[in-house]
Symmetry: C3
Subunit: 256 residues, 3 copies
Amino acid sequence: MKFTGRNVFVDPTATIGKDVRIGDNTTIYPNVQIGDRTVIANDCVIGEPLSDYYTNSSYSQPKTIIGSDCLIRSHTVIYSSTTIGSHFSCGHRVTIRESASFGNHCRIGTMSDIQGDCSVGSYVWLHSNVHIGQQSRIGDFVFIYPFVVLTNDPYPPSSELIGVEIEAFAQISTGARLMPGITVHEHALVGANALVTKDVTSFSCVVGNPARHVKDVREIKFKDGATAYPWPLRFERGMPWEGIGFERWKLQRQDQ
Amino acid sequence: MKFTGRNVFVDPTATIGKDVRIGDNTTIYPNVQIGDRTVIANDCVIGEPLSDYYTNSSYSQPKTIIGSDCLIRSHTVIYSSTTIGSHFSCGHRVTIRESASFGNHCRIGTMSDIQGDCSVGSYVWLHSNVHIGQQSRIGDFVFIYPFVVLTNDPYPPSSELIGVEIEAFAQISTGARLMPGITVHEHALVGANALVTKDVTSFSCVVGNPARHVKDVREIKFKDGATAYPWPLRFERGMPWEGIGFERWKLQRQDQ
Amino acid sequence: MKFTGRNVFVDPTATIGKDVRIGDNTTIYPNVQIGDRTVIANDCVIGEPLSDYYTNSSYSQPKTIIGSDCLIRSHTVIYSSTTIGSHFSCGHRVTIRESASFGNHCRIGTMSDIQGDCSVGSYVWLHSNVHIGQQSRIGDFVFIYPFVVLTNDPYPPSSELIGVEIEAFAQISTGARLMPGITVHEHALVGANALVTKDVTSFSCVVGNPARHVKDVREIKFKDGATAYPWPLRFERGMPWEGIGFERWKLQRQDQ
């Protein structure tokens, strides 16, 4: 069905792993390295040159690295100089700009917009249309929902950008906006449409505009009275503790 | 001008109606059925295979059905197993995932993101960049404006999704977010940037974060003092009561 | 690297300036005029025909004008009848619909959605995913950040649209929504996620839902106590006063 090679361009300097499949109309530019078994779907541009390319005749194209076992869906653009780990998957029309780094097992939703000069850990799930500003740092096991923005300009317009930091296990709900330089600490939960203007402490649930602490996430109960957070105790799908449980997984890690 | 057949691929198992036109660079995958006179513009992917295709060598591609007299604009992706009625039109870069169903005469704006496993009635207009989560149910004659999100995860992250229901004639303004499991009843009006955390009763206008009832929509007046709602009494363009009026149309329907 | 002419279509009636470069898979429709040294990247559609084209066999394609020294990034769609000045640059997947006009030196972010029938001045920077409704008027030196919406329908749904006006030097932060017919006056600053329901006076900083005046922007200080606004006194990058300063530039302009 797919992968018939129709109108596919792969630059001869690209390094393509074993059993890689590339969809129709896709363009792979120089110095791209793609790991084994990765799928790049239709109409993508991988290794998009930096802005400098358009104006500087002595431009030199940096390496673009995409790990093994990834799935890049259609119409996605990934810039040169970016590094993506293994088992990454993304939706359609994702943009990942220059000097971004992703760990392993990340999932990025349709139309998410990663502005570059940022770092993202492993097992991070961004839903559709998440906007990650430059200088953002995102830890492992973070979930971010649609239309969230990690801003970075404290006095717009300015050239001094101060990114947002989101620590491991935090959850940022739909439509929340995080002001420049904010840190959201481990296991915090930011509510939908919240405007986060100061740091959020570990395990804090904040809501509103401006966002205020309303409770400890460990007080949030399901309708049947069971405890909903910390979420790794009940959610395992796609996580490294799948099948063994979070507590046992933590112990195994400590043993290593 | 368009429709010269440049770099178009149509799978031999696709069923293409009379006078269908297909734009440059577009890909039509197996088991797609397209009704008469429908236009698929440039750079689209129709019948995108389900995720299973990439990993399962015995994958079987479900049917994709697009009705007659539709207009699908460029860079749109429609997944296999989805069904779209007649007279559908959409903007650019729309994503419609698997197992979605649309009635007739729907209009979907540029970059709207329909997550699949959802049902949409007839004469529904979604503006640009509307996000419809899985398990959503939308009635007839609903209008939704840019950057609205119908969420579905009550305790993120979880795998038990509870969709939003929007009943006929409701209006959801720009940037509103609807929490999982909420029902917005007939003729309600949700204000811009509202965060809707509980059901909205028929004819209620709600605003704010969290959203609160501020008035009955039938109290909303134009500057000249005329009544603005229920809106079908004054807005006819593209609606089935165009030319005859809403009240007469309702009577005709009852007679049938 | 780029610009090898792979699967590029340029209509013979298009007027292409000197040293123009056109990326792979891009389509240039009739009556498009492109200025010298402009770059159109991959997978774009320039001169997209108006809706009328699909149904009217006597359709006549209006002119599309793109100035010199522009950079249009990949997957962008620009409609016929739109005019864009020189030194324009845009991100990926931008949509610019019919009868839009842009001055010179504008920068438009990835996935921004310009609905047409609107006018934008010079040196306007729109970040990613900005939504400009029909009938909007934007002055010179305006900055607008992600997911901002300029609305236009005072009684949805209706056909009588009343656009937003944004005067020179104003700043509209992430996620703000501006109600139909609002004017934001010179040098105003609209806060993140604000819902602007009435006019904003010059130099006013407004925040919240609904937005309220909190201070004069000239009272906003950097951490070191220096004054942050009016911003042209401290931000010069890409502006016509770069290298000479805003005050001197203003004097030079008055002399002319």
